[in-house]
Subunit: 312 residues, 2 copies
DNA sequence: AATTTGTCTTTTATCCACAATAGACAGAAT
DNA sequence: ATTCTGTCTATTGTGGATAAAAGACAAATT
């Protein structure tokens, strides 16, 4: 449960009695794992800067990865020559639990608590207690709470505790009210995107995935959640408004955890939503503002109902 | 320039070489100053809990205040008897610089930098440098930046620096787009507030202040900024939507610093805005949605133009 | 019986330290 | 002439310590 991970290798410059683990090397571990995937498909690795580009990390981390690959006899590394010696095995990978950043761990842990556990509105949130429970320092928890507060589910009493406002009916109604305003406006601006805007291509791709999932709905209905986010985010992005796009984070996180939490009838619900999406997509492709407005409203209405049904 | 304030008094339980100032007692100092004001008007102070209520602090702080008042021979304090001995003098007060919380200091300092100084979009923001310049620890600066990021003016690159997106034309347009959506909706819901809702009373008060300021516009036009915030916040609050109300924070902070920054023609601009507000208020009082919509649009349009004019 | 006070404990706000990570720059290799 | 590598420095992320502030509870007071 706790993520108080042990360090796999003893750092060279430090004897025993590891004093205080200032920072987890999750960036390194995650990038290392992703590098192993790359390594499975080539016989030679590119330059350090290029590798850094691909993995999204700095050269410092790339060199740490290469060092470890060498230690595990996965490659021979001599300056520019990086020759793959063998395919990576499952045991070469770091366990997945060690690759998520502290922020992710705290978020998951917190959401589980407030969605699953007894989360009465008005409850006090204690930074120290939360930190102990999750197994981290208070600073990280504090920063998480500050970031999370923009979702409107918690509120700070200065010099005192946080208050849980709760995932209530009012919350859902306020959220959907804004969501509907924003999405209707975004959808309307979608139709005036220039013909060669990449969003049209992405929309086509998304449409195709919808059809694929619908064709095998019994097995693949669980993939809807992710697709849903991808589609709505695309729509919101066409607003070109940072506040509208940022707001979509709130919707995404709420629906994300909501899907995990409330699985009743999800096959049917998802099938219905997929159909609505297809109608919505067709409307967008027609470029007819009236049709878009109608299809968008129809879908938002049923999305709101679904969300509300799941709240006691 | 720096706010690296010296501590006025040596704490009793600690000799010399103050080791690390974990927390500034600004809450105490500010509440103490406010207590002196109270003290100027009565001959006896209420109970500790009641005083805490009035000053908005805990009993612990109240007792620290009473102790200091006693030390300064401002009162005699014996259990429930708190008798005022003399009126407070200016020298009894803590200097104002010592009464603002660290968060306020950081905010002011930061806004001055990005609005006044060379604040080219794309500029990197360095936590350590900012902290040194302001004279605080990095943690406080970090937390400020996290909180501030919801205003859309800065953005974090994970594991790396913050990027200043800048107070640009795009920013202003995106901000006003959402503002207009929210305010139109809030204004529309204002008219359906029940007759006995306190907002109607507050609206009347606000209207009266408008007329007072207009009657003496040459001397009082500077009071507009604060009144503007009060009025629009009242409108937004009638939406009963936390996301809409929270968004008003962004508008408020932008306009707040904007007024400080751009003072050209402010007398005329404020006079015009006051007139528009009065028309807007009259429309709200008429309860006629059409009139409200028109008056609101007219004012929002000129507010947007004013904001845009001030951006290069 | 309800407050108020005295005392004590808990929690927050803030600083600092240090490992992980990013990033800069000169010299080496193509 | 560009790109890469070796080396070094700077900055972020996170845990821990501590004073300020909040808050709990029992005894005292009205």
């Amino acid at each position: 449960m706790s993520s108080n991970t042990f360090r796999a290798e003893a750092r060279s410059n430090r004897g025993l009695a590891e004093p205080s683990m200032a920072k987890q090397n999750t960036v390194f571990k995650d990038a290392f794992n992703r590098c192993l995937n790359l390594l499975a498909e080539t016989s030679t690795l590119p330059s350090e800067p290029e590798l850094g580009q691909v993995l999204g990390v700095s050269r410092t981390t790339v060199r740490a990865i290469l060092t470890r690959c060498e230690e595990l006899k996965l490659i021979i590394w001599d300056k520019r020559r990086k020759i793959v010696l063998r395919r990576p095995e499952p045991s070469d990978y770091f366990p997945t639990e060690e690759t998520s950043s502290l922020a992710e761990i705290i978020e998951r842990s917190f959401m589980r608590r407030i969605l699953a556990g007894g989360a009465e509105p008005g409850m006090q949130i204690n930074e120290l207690e939360l930190a102990r429970e999750i197994g981290t320092g208070t600073t990280s928890v504090r920063e998480f709470l500050i970031r999370f507060s923009r979702f409107g589910l918690i509120e700070k009493r200065p010099n005192s505790h946080w208050v849980l406002k709760g995932f209530t009916r009012e919350f859902a109604l306020e959220l959907t009210e804004v969501r509907e305003m924003f999405e209707l406006r975004s959808a309307a601006s979608f139709v005036s995107l220039p013909e060669d805007h990449p969003a049209w291509e992405e929309l086509k791709t998304i449409e195709a995935v919808h059809r694929e999932i619908l064709a095998d709905i019994d097995n693949r209905y669980r993939e809807f959640s992710e697709l849903d986010e991808r589609f709505h985010l695309l729509v919101h992005k066409s607003s070109s408004n940072r506040f509208i796009i940022d707001f979509y984070d709130i919707i995404a996180i709420v629906f994300h955890y909501h899907y995990q939490w409330n699985k009743a009838n999800s096959r049917e619900r998802n099938a219905r939503a997929l159909e609505e999406h297809l109608a919505y997509i067709a409307a967008l492709q027609s470029r007819d503002p009236k049709q878009v407005d109608q299809a968008c409203r129809r879908h938002l209405k049923s999305a709101r109902e679904t969300l509300l049904q799941s709240i006691p």
